[in-house]
Every structure is written in C-alpha cells, then in structure tokens.
C-alpha cells in the first residue's frame, strides 16, 4: 500500500484519507522516508520538520476520527522557505537568516494548517527569491529531478523539485517575475500564481512588494485549485489583499472549453523561443482548439519592455525591503564591529550573496536623487502601459496562452556568469506580475527528455476560467503524470 502513496496527487490522497484507505500518518511516514532517501541528490529542502509533521499527522487523523476534518486534513505540504513558520527555521535561502527562527506563522501557512495540512519541511530557494535557477541559495543549488545536472529553475526551485520528484504532492511558492511558473515548467509540474491581492502576503518575506504573490506547485490543476481555495481571501494584516469572495475553484473545473477565447501573442513565438518548445506549445494550442476554444491573435505592444521594466521596479523595492536586515535586531550580525557603520557594512556584506547585492545596488541607484525620474518613475509608467495592454487584450479574450520559458531546463552553472541571459528566462512570465494577473504553467511536452510548460494568463481575478482551461487541457494529455525515472 505505502509504496505508491508518493505517486498520488493531493486529490487522490484526500479521497484515500476520506475512505480510510490510509491515514495521514501513513502518508507522512512514506514521504519523510522518500525525503530521507532522495533529498541528498536534490537539495530541495533546507529544513525537514519530521517530528512536527508526524505529530501534526496524528492530530489530523484524530480530528478526522472525531469528525473535525478540514479541507486539507492530513494532507502533506511543503512550504517555500520564504514563508515564516512559527518556531521553525525560516532562512529565505540566505546566510542573513541562516539561524532565524520565526516567532509567527505567515497567513498562508496559518490557513493551510487550520485546514489540517501537515507541513513536511521548508524548501530551498534562490536567496530572497532573487534568481531563476536556484543557484543563488546560500544552501547550495537544487538539482532538477529530470536531470541532476540541470537547474530546476527558480526561485521556487526546491518546491518544484520536491513535487516533481514525488517527495511531496504539493508545495507553496512565491512568484515575483515567474518564480512559480518557470520552475514548474522546467520540472514538469503545475505552477499557479494567483492575481495580485488574491492571497495574503503577510509573513511572506518581501522581495518586491508590488509584484510578489504566493501560489502553489502541484502535480495537477485540480490540486492547485483545492489549495488556492484555502489560501485565498482577504487578510486584514495585508492592506494589498483584496476583499472579494473566494469561489469554489474545484467545483468550477468541469466546464467545456467550447467558445473559450484564447489569445495568442505573436511575439511569444518570435526568435528567442527554442524551436522544439515552440512545437510543443503549438501542439497544446491545437489541442485547446480541438476542444472548442477559439484562438485569436492579441497584441501586447509594450510587452517587450517588460524585462527592463521589471529589473527597475523589482530591485527598487527590494533595495528598500532588505534594509531591515541590518544586524541590529535579528539575522546575521558581524563579529566585533568597530562602530555602527562597520556593523552595517560587514553584517550585510557577509549576510547577502552576490545576486542580492547586485539588485540592492541597482535598486538604490534607480531611486537616487537625479535618477528617480529617468528610471523608477519611467518604469512605473511603462508598467502602467503594459497593464493597459493586457486590459485591452482581455476585452477580446478569456485567457492568453504561450510558452512559459524560452527553453527547457538549462545546465547548472550555464548562466551564472551572465545575469542578463538569466533574466531573459522570465521574459514570458514577467508581464503577468507587472499587470497583477493570474498565471499558470502546466506540462505540455518533453524536449530532449526535459519538460516544457504551457503558460496561461487570465484576466484580473480570472482564476476560475484559467484553472478550468488548464484542467480541461490536462484531461486530454498525460504530461503531468510523467515522472522522472529515478524518482518513481
């Protein structure tokens, strides 16, 4: 029985728990064993909370026995190490927080726990979520389960690798420029980034506050829908969370795609996109069309400006958000500081890695007197234009479809010396963050034995349509069931 628990999706596990086929303790033990066995090769976890997980699983089983099972009762989850978890190490992939134990739970963590979810551990990530390959983590890179020499993408690389390798059926992630969707695409998993404001950011260590959004990485869209239903909703602790009712996302998954208007952005298929990836994505589009969807071309004239815009806005916000890490109250503190200035310089100099420093410096520069108008203000104006482009496009279509990434997973070390090429990896995903729109990546093929993702973007608060489209596509394919050979 226990041999195949790791292969089951969250939805399947929920049914098994409900039927009494197995217990949460069974699932938790099985997965902790797998983590023990495989994490060494993947480095997907920074912390494994085995003891707490078993206790929580037992509590969940007891709750079920007494008829108090929440939506996620007894179901395992991994949290990206950017989410604050009470009494558990929360490192954000940084030396700065190497020993930081959070005194409180993030809202996402709290809501999942209240629904009965069992946390298995905290996943590895790019330092402060700044990176697209998981190589900027202070705790070392994560390996892609499909090819251990490849990157799983980033910044939620640990979450994606853990789910792809069947160490957990689901993991949380955060997406500032593609940090959920890109690793999902590169590991053959489903990655959902909700609308900005749909999920509370409270307790999620900030990178770029106006772009950050919590989401999930799963093996099916239905699982993502189930988790979103728990995570989503207004939080009085986050002023940017939006007070709008949360629909039953799972119940909305069985609609036909007949008449669904799917927008295609021509530029997405221009140069830069790997030919074979292009073929896989086009096949996926054809399948949507075969299901009754209507494909139409949409124009997003300012989209080509999204990467430079992003790399002004995000560093600007990060340069300010990361100022609190000063060695005074928490986090890394340099030894034997001579004076205050020395304490600041060395604590931050030692605590932050190269990519974080690069972005802090970029951000400080673009906000400086004399440069603010030319960079930050201009970028905000362009951001508005991009958001307007999307708004106009969504007047005529229900979702916009295209590739998630230009290529399949790249080799670890390939792009570390060339930040610009690395930044271009997010070229298709960044627009949704700038416009605050929901996006999802679902597996849509294999290129050179590596997974490729189909990227769908929805209108503002259009998660239901988006999830339904992804789910209906999934029903006609089995890409999301593909499992890397070493991790069956």
């Amino acid at each position: 029985m226990s041999q195949d628990l790791h292969l089951q999706t969250l939805t399947q596990l929920a049914a098994g728990l409900e039927n009494g086929t197995f217990s949460s303790v069974d699932i938790t033990k099985a997965l902790l064993d797998r983590i023990d066995l495989h994490n060494g090769r993947l480095n997907a976890f920074i912390t494994v909370t085995a003891e707490q997980a078993l206790a929580d699983a037992q509590r969940a089983d007891d709750a079920r026995a007494s008829g108090n099972a929440g939506v996620l009762n007894g179901l395992p989850i991994v949290h990206k190490d950017i989410f604050c978890t009470r009494d558990v190490l929360t490192t954000c992939g940084s030396r700065m927080l190497e020993n930081f134990v959070s005194p409180y739970d993030a809202t996402v963590v709290k809501r999942m726990a209240e629904a009965g979810a069992v946390m298995l551990g905290k996943s590895n990530m790019d330092e402060f979520a700044m990176g697209s390959s998981n190589e900027t983590s202070y705790f070392g890179p994560v390996m892609n389960p499909w090819n251990l020499e490849c990157s799983p993408g980033g910044s939620s690389g640990g979450s994606a690798a853990a789910v792809a390798a069947r160490l957990a059926p689901a993991a949380t992630g955060t997406d500032t420029g593609g940090s959920i969707r890109q690793p999902a695409a590169l590991t053959g998993t489903v990655g959902l980034k909700p609308t900005y404001g749909r999920v509370s950011r409270y307790g999620m260590i900030a990178f770029a506050s106006s772009l950050d959004q919590a989401g999930v990485i799963t093996r099916s869209t239905a699982d993502a829908a189930m988790l979103l239903g728990v995570m989503a909703g207004f939080d009085e602790r986050d002023s940017t969370s939006i007070n709008q009712p949360v629909p039953d996302y799972v119940a909305g998954l069985d609609k036909s795609l007949k008449g669904l208007r799917v927008g295609i952005v021509r530029q997405h298929f221009d140069e830069g996109l790997d030919d074979n990836c292009g073929v896989a994505v086009k096949d996926a589009l054809a399948l949507l069309e075969a299901q009754g969807a209507i494909l139409t071309e949409v124009d997003l004239p300012n989209l080509e400006l999204s990467v430079p815009t992003y790399y002004v806005v995000a560093p600007a916000e990060c340069s300010s958000n990361l100022s609190r890490f000063d060695g005074v109250r928490f986090g890394h503190r340099a030894d034997d500081a001579e004076d205050l200035f020395d304490l600041y310089c060395r604590s931050r100099g030692e605590g932050f890695g190269a990519e974080v420093k690069r972005r802090i410096m970029t951000g400080t520069y673009v906000l400086s007197a004399g440069y603010y108008d030319a960079y930050y203000l201009k970028a905000q104006q362009v951001r508005q234009l991009i958001a307007d482009d999307f708004r106009k496009a969504f007047a005529g279509v229900d979702v916009i479809a295209g590739p998630t990434t230009p290529t399949p997973a790249f080799k670890l070390g390939d792009k570390t010396d060339d930040p610009i090429t690395m930044y271009l990896n997010d070229i298709y995903t960044i627009g949704a963050n700038l416009a605050g729109l929901p996006g999802i990546s679902v597996p849509c093929g294999m290129v050179d034995d590596m997974p490729v993702g189909l990227h769908l973007v929805g209108a503002h608060f259009g998660e239901e349509t988006l999830l339904n489209c992804a789910h209906q596509y999934e029903q006609r394919t089995d890409w999301n069931e593909a499992c890397p050979e070493d991790f069956r």
Binding site: F83, C84, T90, C92, L97, F100, S102, P103, Y104, A106, R201, Y202, G203, M204, I205, A206, A208, S209, S210, E236, R237, D238, S239, T240, A316, E317, S319, S320, L322, S323, R324, F325, D326, V328, R329, F330, G331, L340, Y344, T364, L367, S368, A369, Y372, Y376
Partner: protein, 479 residues
C-alpha cells in the same frame, strides 16, 4: 540689526496624534512604559510583516486640515523615506512625500504691531515616529527603545512667512492650541508629543531672494524655539557682516549653552530615495467623509475669542489669552456663568491671581486648587459687597491654601465688610479727633490728605470697612 536685516522663518511642527494604538500596528502608544514592551513584530520590522493603516489618524489629519482652512486631499500616498539608523527598524520611515493628506492651509497670529498676520501652512502629512537610542548607562553599548517606533505623527509645515522668533512662537502656540482644541494631540512637550524644526535665514531688507537657511532640529519648548531662533539670527547676521557666508546645514540647539551647533552639512545629508510604499494603498477620502469630519469640529480658538469679545465684552487681549488654551477658556466660562460679577472681572481673576498661583505651583488649569464654582463664589462676595476687592485677595490665598470656599474663609477669619454707617462714623470721629493737625491742613486745601484719613480708618477696621462709605462719611465730616 532689525533695521537692515529681514528674518525669514518656516517651522516644521511634529504633533503626535492621540491615538490608542500605533499608526501601522496594534501596539499601544502609551508613554513611559518599560523599554521595548510596546513594540510588536510590525514595529520591530520583522521579516514578512506588513503595515496596516490606523484609520483614526486619517480622521485626525482631516480634522486638522479643515481647522486650518486647508485642502484635504481626496487621494494621498504613503512613501518610504530610506535611511539606516538603529532606532529605525525597517531601514525606512513610512511618511508622505509627493501627495500629503493636507495642503494649502492658513492661520492668523498677531504681529508686533498688534495687527493680524496670515501664516500659510504649506502641508501637513502623516508619518510614523522612530524609536529612541539610549546612550547613557550602558557602558560602551547603545540601547534601542522601540516603544515610540510607529507612533503616529502629523508633520505640519509652514510657509516661510514668519519674520521673528516672537512670531514663530506665536504661530507654534496657535498650532498647539488648535490641535488641543481638536483633541488630536495632547501637545505634551516634555514627553516629545509636540516639537518642531525651525528653518531660519536672513536677507538684507528689501532683497527678494531668500538667504541660505539653516535648519534647527528638535526644539521641544516654546522658550527654546524663541532662544534658538534669536541665537541663530544673530549668528547668521554676524557671519555675513564679517564677510562670511551662511552654509546650508542642520543645526542642534544646546539649551545649556544657549547656542546652536552644526550637526551636518548639506553635502552630508542623506539621499532618502523616497518612493511610494507598495505595502499601503493610497488614502482615498470622499466629500461625504469630509463633511462628516467637519460636523465634528469644535469651536476653534479664533471663533471662541470673537465670541468672548462679543458675548462677554472682554478686552481683545484678554479674550486671546483665555482662548489660547481650551481648558482655560472652559474654566473661565464656568466662572463667568456661575457668578453675578461682570465677565471682565472674572477674566481679570482668571488671568491674574489664578494664573499666577498656578504658575507659582507649576500646575495646569485642570489641577487648580480652586474650582471654577468656588472662584465664582468669591466674585459674588465682592459683587454683593460682603468683602472688598482687597480683602478678596486674602480670601483667595486662603482658598488656594485649602481653607475652604469663600464663605468659609470669610466666616472663619471674620473678614465680612463693615457696612454699618454708625460703626464707621464712630471710627471716623475717633480718627478726626486724634489728628487735629492733618484736619487743619485738609481744611486749608490739602485735598490729598483724604487718602491719609481713609488709610487710618481702614487700618483701624482691619480693612473691613466699605471703602466707598468711608470716603463719603469722611468728606461729610471734614467739610
């Protein structure tokens, strides 16, 4: 110097808003707690926490805006002011920069010539206070107390319309009075709830272009504002007259030495890299909200002063003194409405003897030893001639010392005025008989001697004889 130089001053006043909890967190704002006991994770700037605006501060700022005839912005935006300091937990202060909540206000002060002078209020914006660094008693370390971090402040920026230290103080007192009337700040300067920075420059009289200014930081008493500005004005004039140049810089006032000292020059100033705070939504206020706030505005100092002049017939200056403080004006009104004496008499007593007694004992009007009703009782005894004004001073002292109300004191000390004519006549007869020389001089035309006779009679009666009657009887008997 005043003939050749014109002084230009603008003030930035920081008024702490009287909310129960902080501007972006639920922690208490109460003063005086043990260090770091009133700072929650938000105030400490912990990873992942977010600010949530205390809506009470918006209402308070709007109230202030309406009170100074300003525009209350339909949309204002919080911005981050970035700089590193140990008592600034997030590495930035949340403030308002390009779009403040209040703009284009005004108020009126009385200038040196007794004329009304308009002072423009450029803006007032909401921001959070920082914590406090403690350097004493911690060996070679510095301590940080974050109880104050996140306390709501309204920073009120004036136009450079003030022309002297005296005017600056008058303006600051007026703002102080307004925020107290509105109940949006306790204005407690000792606790730092009301303090200001002064921008000071001088220019040759008649010159259009402004001189280079210096900014004197953190003045926390009216007296220091006056002294610091006066020192700074003289320093700048002397500097220029000696052929030097004023540097744009931040200065600190040292009250022990009564001088200002350079803190940092313009070149050393921080680049604060202001940008809109992405964690907070813009504050949006509609006309309905503004009208609802307007409906809660109390009578303000200027209006009350006019009413005191019109309804009570008070002198302009007295009405100004009484209405500068809400508590004092309330006290006066309580006395005036309870006594049969004229309101101006009540005003004289409140401004004179009562204020002097309060000052002497270092008390606020709320702590007065004599309740308004009891002061009214004292004035009634003057009004009904039970005691003279002079005896009343003695009664007041006794009341202040806790000997009871006016009637108790008059009774216990036997101070009731003698109004029985025959009793006064007896005394007068004795005085005339005892002073034949003075009587002769008076009758020969030395009218001024009447004072001598009155004095003698009063002395004889222990001051209790009715002075009017004494005068009349004396004149009658000496004629």
């Amino acid at each position: 110097m005043s003939g050749q130089w014109e002084v230009v001053i603008g003030l930035e006043i920081h008024a702490q808003l009287a909310t129960k909890s902080k501007i972006f967190s639920a922690a208490s704002t109460a003063y005086g707690a043990e260090p770091n006991t009133q700072a929650c994770l938000v105030d400490l700037g912990y990873p992942g926490v977010l600010p949530v605006l205390n809506e009470e501060v918006v209402r308070m700022a709007a109230k202030f805006g309406l009170a100074v005839n300003a525009t209350v912005a339909p949309r204002s935006v919080f911005a981050r002011k970035n700089y590193f300091y140990p008592d600034l937990p997030k590495g930035y202060q949340i403030s308002q920069y390009e779009l403040p909540i209040v703009e284009h206000g005004e108020l009126f002060i009385t200038d040196a010539d007794g004329n009304e002078k308009r002072i423009g209020i450029t803006r007032a914006h909401l921001e959070e206070d920082a914590g406090k660094s403690i350097h004493e008693g911690l060996d070679r370390y510095s301590g940080i107390d974050l109880n104050r971090a996140g306390t709501p402040l309204l920073e009120i920026v004036s136009e450079p319309d003030l022309s002297s230290a005296r005017e600056a103080v008058a303006y600051m007192r007026k703002i102080h009075s307004i925020v107290r009337y509105l109940g949006i700040s306790d204005g407690n300067m000792q606790e730092g709830s009301f303090r200001c920075d002064a921008n000071v420059s001088v220019r040759p009289l008649g010159q259009e272009e402004l001189g280079t200014r210096s900014e004197i930081k953190n003045l926390n008493s009216f007296r220091y504002v006056e002294k610091a500005i006066n020192f700074e004005v003289e320093r700048q004039i002397e500097l220029i007259e000696d052929g030097g140049e004023v540097r744009q810089e931040t200065r600190l006032y040292d009250s022990d030495k009564d001088e200002t000292r350079s803190m940092r020059s313009k070149e050393e100033a921080n680049d604060y890299r202001y940008f809109p705070d992405p964690d907070l939504l813009p504050v949006e206020i509609d006309a309905t909200y503004i009208e609802a706030v307007r409906a809660t505005l109390p009578e303000l100092p200027d209006a009350k002063r006019r009413r005191f002049i019109d309804d009570y017939g008070l002198r302009f200056d007295d009405a100004g003194i009484l209405t500068a403080s809400l508590a004092l004006s309330d006290y006066f009104e309580a006395v005036a409405s309870a006594t049969d004496a004229k309101a101006q008499i009540a005003a004289n007593w409140v401004i004179g003897d009562l204020s002097a007694a309060l000052n002497k004992d270092g008390l606020d009007i709320e702590q007065s030893n004599i309740a308004a009703a009891d002061l009214a009782g004292l004035l009634d005894r003057i009004q009904d001639s039970t005691i003279s004004g002079k005896i009343a001073k003695e009664v007041f002292e006794a009341m202040w010392a806790g000997e009871g109300n006016a009637d108790d004191v008059i009774e216990a000390r036997g101070l009731k005025q003698i109004t029985d004519s025959s009793a006064i006549e007896d005394v007068v007869d004795r005085i005339i008989a005892a002073n034949p020389g003075q009587v002769a001089d008076y009758k020969a035309g030395k009218d001024k001697l009447i004072g001598f006779f009155v004095g003698q009679v009063m002395k004889e009666t222990g001051g209790k004889a009715n002075p009017g009657q004494v005068n009349a009887i004396l004149k009658d008997k000496l004629s």
